[in-house]
């Protein structure tokens, strides 16, 4: 997999899934583009104005804690977030992101190495993060091979289709 390069959008610790995707929009179950319009809407409304498709989220500890709502990972992916790098993740969000093909990397030290708006490069295979401006790097623990496979296939659905011999999804 090619390294991912992008501008970062910086968050602090304990960003929960109610904040990422408010409960009042849980009735949206299938329209993923619509979900993307509500990322962080209630508590960090600036995100929708300032963040751009192609950005990478960098956060502190416990990103994605709380509810198991998959919309929290879906809305970020369909907004165009390329990857999420954090000091630590809550486990359900972490698994959801991988299953949806949204790369996530546990990389303590990244949050303190970058400031809002910096450009970074994330190499999932090597597990490394580079601050493109300063050249500083952080080495994270590598993702297990089967997780890289799921991400490489574009998520669990595509991965299972391949495994079960169902071929590629048409139309998505």
């Amino acid at each position: 997999m090619e390294p991912i390069r992008g501008r970062i959008y910086r968050f602090g610790d304990d960003i929960n899934t109610d904040v990422i995707y408010p409960g009042k929009y849980l009735s949206i179950t299938t329209d993923r583009e619509e979900m993307a319009k509500h990322c962080f809407e209630a508590v960090y409304p600036d995100f929708l104005k300032e963040a751009k498709s192609g950005d990478i989220i960098v956060a502190g500890k416990n990103f994605g804690c709380g509810s198991s709502r998959e919309q929290a990972a879906t809305c970020l992916k369909y907004f165009g977030i390329r990857a999420v790098v954090a000091d630590s993740f809550a486990r359900i969000f972490y698994r959801n992101a991988i299953n949806l093909g949204l790369p996530v990397l546990v990389a303590p030290g990244t949050a303190s190495m970058v400031t809002h708006g910096d450009e970074i490069e994330v190499d999932l295979e090597k597990g490394s993060i580079k601050n493109c401006g300063t050249g500083e790097t952080v080495q994270a623990s590598k993702l297990p091979a089967f997780v890289l496979d799921i991400l490489g296939d574009g998520g669990l659905i595509a991965h299972l289709r391949k495994k079960l011999g169902r071929g590629k999804i048409r139309g998505g």
């Binding site: 849980l26 709380g66 509810s67």
Partner: protein, 417 residues
């Protein structure tokens, strides 16, 4: 091996497993609520025609019941159709109540089983000695297709609880106290085993409060080691065979914590994180607009009994909206028979239908900017229950009931009854 290790080893067909190993385990029970709509879309995308085992999938409606919008009505409709097409045996429509009460009541929560649910508070079912954890919708689609799932074997920690609770102090105060001590990430990725005399003598419902809220300190699973009380409860509710497991005497724990509850005071979790825990006395006098008794944490019969005991013959403060949400239809019926519902209504409370109610901010009693709610639920994140400018305090049914009467956050005290 610890209980988590023993259950995962058996489910993975292995003699033993070690923490941090990745194993593939067979799933005994797969639960979804309204988000089954997201699951079934992903399931159809996989391209498999039939679910792996229609008798091991449980589907119910609780998060938005009755439908609060046309969108949700359509969600319910699509799921009912899927249930019928796939011959899903265990389907509980919107009249029944909250998943984490319906599953135990109907014998789906069994010692030694591996359970997954598309709900983070699935850890609740560890109160019956099941390895039970929350997963996402896409992952659940994979479970529906294959009947198995990968897990990293968690490290285990043990919390030993001794002593007797004082009057009006309960499991809710205990678990909030523990979360306050170890923090929102204090049990991250771990299995938590609760043990000790206090746990042994606790009711099944109170045990569920502990495993339910363990999610809020990051636990992957939480357990009460199954005992006679567990087995009796489950046997009364299912004919399906189950095979309880208990941890080995030489099991290894990464951390052990001891708590003596005999000096524990009424405890509250303050806005806007669950680990922002204080003794109630430190925030006593805070004005409230809403008081909520219910949820998968504290909407059971014993919770309503405590609240009814406090509210009997009293009036809710005129400035306060008291909402009571029984956890299930059975709880509702029993509370009706015992006169609790009459007590709530006479006191000026509003009794809602069984379900998740306003806990997750979807409907039924949301909050305006500046408003304060004291609630027996499990999350107080900013904006969780309505406006991002509102405030939620989490507390026991006793604390909420006393506060509803006085109109301000109040330490439960029989002298003021």
């Amino acid at each position: 091996m610890t209980l988590a290790e023993k259950i995962l080893a058996r489910a993975a067909g292995r003699k033993s497993v070690k923490p941090r190993e990745i194993v593939t385990a067979k799933i005994d029970v797969a639960m979804s609520h309204e988000n089954a709509d997201v699951v079934l879309r992903a399931f159809k995308e996989i391209g498999v025609q039939k679910v792996w085992d229609p008798d091991r999938i449980v589907i119910l409606f609780d998060h938005r019941v009755p439908a609060e919008s046309e969108k949700t009505a359509a969600t319910h409709q699509r799921i009912r159709q899927f249930v019928s097409e796939q011959n899903i045996k265990y389907f509980y429509d919107l009249k029944e109540g909250i998943c984490h009460q319906i599953l135990p009541e109907n014998g789906h929560s069994r010692p030694g089983d591996v359970m997954v649910g598309t709900d983070s508070h699935t850890t609740t079912h560890g109160a019956f000695g099941a390895f039970a954890t929350g997963i996402g919708a896409t992952e659940m689609a994979g479970v529906w297709a294959t009947g198995e799932l990968w897990f990293m074997v968690p490290e285990s920690m043990r919390i030993v609880v001794t002593g007797e609770f004082r009057e009006y102090i309960s499991a809710k105060d205990l678990i909030l106290h523990i979360i306050g001590k170890i923090g929102a990430t204090g049990a991250d990725y771990r299995a938590v085993e609760f043990s000790g005399d206090t746990i042994s003598s606790m009711s099944v419902a109170s045990r569920m409060v502990l495993t339910n809220l363990s999610m809020e300190m990051g636990a992957k699973v939480a357990f009460i080691v199954p005992d006679k009380k567990t087995v009796d409860y489950v046997k009364e509710r299912t004919d399906r065979k189950f095979n309880p497991l208990v941890p080995d005497a030489d099991a290894e724990y990464v951390h052990e914590m001891k708590v003596d509850v005999s000096s524990l005071a009424s405890t509250v979790s303050c806005p806007h994180t669950v680990d922002n825990v204080k003794p109630v006395i430190e925030v006593a006098g805070t004005r409230i607009d809403q008081a909520l008794i219910g949820s998968c944490t504290n909407g059971r019969l014993e919770d309503l009994a405590v609240a009814a005991g406090i509210l009997d013959g009293k009036k809710v403060a005129s400035s306060v909206r008291l909402l009571v949400v029984p956890a299930s239809r059975n709880v509702y019926l029993e509370a009706m028979k015992r006169g609790y519902l009459e007590t709530f209504v006479k006191a000026g409370g509003l009794v809602l239908n069984p379900g998740c109610g306003p806990c997750l901010g979807a409907h039924q009693g949301l909050m305006a900017p500046g408003e304060v709610c004291i609630s027996t639920t499990n999350r107080n994140f900013r904006g969780r229950m309505g406006s991002s400018e509102s405030f939620v305090y989490l507390a026991s049914p006793a604390t909420v009931a006393f506060s509803a009467v006085s109109g301000v956050i109040t330490v439960p005290d029989s002298n003021h009854k």
